[in-house]
């Protein structure tokens, strides 16, 4: 075998081996220690003579194609700007790192929950100045979807594809249970009663068909109290220990009591099929009533096209309180550090032409965030119940997440609390106090740190 030194000498030509090693090491050294100086100043990029504007968006599949069509139409209409759409998974985390690293995209598609924490950290640009220049107004949009994109009164995102949720029910199962398939429950008490009629057991007492359960699928565990007139936050304090929230947890517990902790657990273990699959328990008729979003129609058409279903406002516990829903949306924002914010907003302005935003939302089976709707929008929409979801979005009782910095921590206290109730491990009376306590502590910590931050900033300012 060729000895190593000879081998190096061979590839290094006639020079002695050491000089090659030296050269290589010094090269690596320079690369590592001087990499800061070696990175060139960021430069504008051009595609066929047009300025390249980057747009990160999370959607894939049908939803991804819907936005790609908009981008393509924008690019076709332009001779100065080229929007480069980049599909990005885990977009919130990657955007965070990109902003911190000083190389963010020019446009980013987050969702409304991300707006308060990002805005608080100074990661997003306020959009009002851009809108004023472009002649756009907040009042063009459905109120609740603007509210959820604000933090401390300032607007940091615009709603692209809004969503609301409602009661979905299986008409065939209603008929089998002797109920009127066209008449959904109108009060929460009626829902509980119908749920009992819709529940079937096998010879061993196992549940084979469940009328309703707050734990199925429980996508908005933090929001149940909205149907009881409750709130999580009053703008200053955590308000979990209230009669409304207690009533909510007691209602959830009534399901564990009525159907049995073990039986529900076994049912759940068998029925917890993947959401986007033909095994979804609502599609297979294992669950008769669920709380689900505007997107459900799309999945029904894909996985259970023969399902007879209806949608109605989810009934409330409080007389006079109606059209309660959880409203949420995907948002479009301009990150701080974007090198072409004006060009970025030109695309955003294009997107909010009535024709474009309606097409995007029809393609995604959602509804337009604009108050003004084309006369044929409902007729063109693939969801037969789209009008209901639009009405829910405009309802004064549409519930949106509080612009609370520790919202995730709050919701991560509520989810296990509901788990504990459904497993018969704790009482609603104790849990309202427990959650109130835990989240209040976290809130106090945040305020303490904010004070320290402000103090530190004042010190640095002469």
């Amino acid at each position: 075998m060729l000895p190593m030194s000879r081998f190096i000498a061979t590839i290094g030509g006639h020079k002695p081996p050491i000089s090659l090693a030296l050269l290589a090491s010094v090269g690596v050294l320079i690369c590592f220690s001087a990499c800061d100086f070696l990175i060139p100043e960021p430069q504008d990029e051009y595609v066929n003579g047009r300025l390249r504007v980057t747009y990160w968006e999370k959607w894939t599949g049908v939803e991804g194609q819907a936005i790609r069509n908009v981008v393509d139409r924008f690019n076709a209409s332009q001779d100065r700007i080229f929007v480069d759409l980049i599909t990005t998974s885990q977009i919130d985390r990657k955007t965070l790192v990109a902003i911190a690293g000083g190389e963010p995209p020019d446009i980013v598609g987050l969702w409304n929950q991300a707006i308060p924490p990002y805005a608080e950290k100074g990661a997003l640009m306020p959009l009002r100045p851009f809108m004023e220049k472009a002649g756009m107004s907040e009042s063009d949009f459905i109120d609740v979807f603007i509210v959820m994109n604000k933090y401390k009164g300032e607007l940091y995102g615009l709603p692209t594809t809004p969503a609301t949720c409602s009661l979905h029910w299986n008409k065939k199962l209603f008929r089998e249970a002797g109920l009127d398939p066209e008449r959904p429950p109108r009060t929460l008490a009626e829902l509980d009663e119908m749920a009992q009629k819709l529940t079937k057991y096998d010879a061993n007492g196992n549940i084979v068909q469940l009328g309703f359960s707050p734990a199925e699928p429980n996508w908005w565990p933090y929001a149940w109290s909205a149907w009881f007139g409750g709130r999580l936050w009053d703008g200053h304090n955590i308000t979990f220990d209230t009669p409304e929230n207690l009533a909510t947890l007691q209602w959830i517990k009534s399901y564990a009591d009525r159907y049995g902790v073990d039986r529900l657990r076994r049912f759940r273990s068998g029925a917890s099929g993947q959401f986007a699959s033909p095994q979804n328990p609502f599609f297979t008729g294992k669950i008769a009533m669920i709380l689900q979003g505007v997107w459900m129609a799309n999945f029904i058409s894909q996985y259970a096209p023969d399902l007879e279903w209806g949608a109605a406002p989810f009934p409330t516990a409080v007389p006079g309180l109606d059209y309660v829903t959880v409203a949420q949306c995907d948002s479009i924002s301009i990150p701080v550090g974007s090198r072409h914010p004006d060009e970025a907003f030109e695309f955003i302005q294009f997107l909010y032409q009535q024709k474009e935003i309606e097409q995007l939302n029809i393609d995604q089976w959602k509804f337009s965030p604009l108050k003004n709707v084309s006369p044929d929008f409902v007729a063109r929409h693939p969801n037969p119940n789209i009008k209901l979801f639009m009405d829910l979005g405009s309802s004064p009782n549409a519930y949106c997440l509080p612009d609370l910095l520790i919202f995730y921590e709050y919701s991560d206290e509520i989810t296990p609390a509901i788990d504990k109730i459904m497993n018969g491990l704790d009482t609603p009376e104790h849990l309202v106090k427990h959650v109130q306590n835990q989240v209040s502590k976290k809130w106090a910590r945040v305020q303490q740190v904010v004070e320290k931050r402000e103090a530190a900033q004042q010190e640095t300012r002469p």
Partner: protein, 298 residues
């Protein structure tokens, strides 16, 4: 130092420089920085604010922190002895001279090559409370007793044992190390014991296990370190939430939530340092205890 020695030192340093520089930039600096950040409130986007020991103080009073630590210790205490037993038992079986041994060895090693995510999804179906193959068998066996098998991943009591069960599929690596160690044991020791009339169990107890002790020590030490950091399996099976009721919220998962869901890098750094100290303490204790029981071949 002679000029030659000095030149050799210089050349040596130059050759190893890429590694040293890489280590300094990618390991040493982040390590030191993470300790500094553990004393700060830091969310990546804003400069860190020094808050002293506040993160550590909060940790002491954070019920989720203790819950996740408890879950992790529970997992480690159940998983380590079981995995050691299973790996040694498998290695012993695979060390007998049966025909076609290479095939058996491959078969028992194969599960270790399965990606954790695939493993998690597969086991979620096998452990399904109503249709899962495991409960199908269990329920048939338990029927005369009038007991029903647990709902595994939906049950607060059984979710952690279920994860231990899944993790046992990954003992292949330890098994291979034990197998190699077994083959290093000189045959004449067994022959001598047989002449003295030793039975199978005596041979295992007095020859195999003592001579296997260095391998056991290595595997258990590595086991402590990996078990305390268990992450991927529970993350996959609970969709990252650690449910039901935080029964599968392990330490590394809570750390990840703190860093990337709550954007509290400072608290996450403090948690990482605490875990580091716990792991190093456990390893040292284990090292102390086992020193007397280690037997090397010589």
């Amino acid at each position: 130092m002679t000029p030659r020695e000095r030149r050799n030192l210089r050349n040596g340093l130059i050759f190893i420089a890429p590694w040293i520089i890489g280590f300094l930039i990618f390991v040493a600096y982040p390590l030191v920085a993470s300790f500094f950040y553990s004393l700060c409130d830091y969310s990546v986007l804003r400069p860190p604010v020094y808050i002293g020991g506040l993160n550590y103080q909060e940790m002491a009073q954070d019920p989720v922190f203790w819950k996740s630590l408890g879950n992790t210790v529970y997992f480690t205490v159940l998983f380590l002895p079981l995995s050691t037993l299973v790996a040694i038992a498998l290695a012993l079986l695979l060390n007998t001279g049966v025909r076609g041994m290479a095939i058996y060895r491959t078969i028992f090693f194969l599960p270790s090559l399965t990606p954790l995510v695939a493993l998690g999804i597969l086991w979620m179906w096998m452990l399904n409370g109503e249709y899962g193959v495991i409960n199908h068998v269990l329920n048939t066996l338990l029927k005369p007793l009038g007991v029903q098998a647990p709902a595994w991943l939906q049950s607060i009591t059984w979710s952690k044992p279920a994860i231990v069960l899944m993790s046992l599929w990954g003992v292949g690596h330890a098994m291979v190390i034990y197998l190699a160690a077994l083959q290093d044991i000189p045959v004449q020791l067994y022959e001598a014991a047989e002449l003295d009339g030793a039975r199978a169990w005596s041979k295992i107890r007095h020859i195999t296990l003592p001579l296997l002790s260095p391998a056991i020590f290595f595997n258990v030490t590595m086991g402590i370190i990996t078990a305390m950091q268990v992450f991927a399996l529970p993350y996959v099976i609970s969709s990252g939430e650690g449910g039901p009721a935080r029964s599968t919220m392990f330490y590394s998962m809570y750390l990840y939530h703190t860093a990337f869901r709550y954007l509290r890098m400072g608290y996450a750094c403090a948690m990482a340092w605490f875990l580091f100290i716990v792991i190093i303490t456990l390893t040292l204790i284990f090292h102390r205890i086992s020193r007397r029981h280690l037997h090397y071949g010589q």
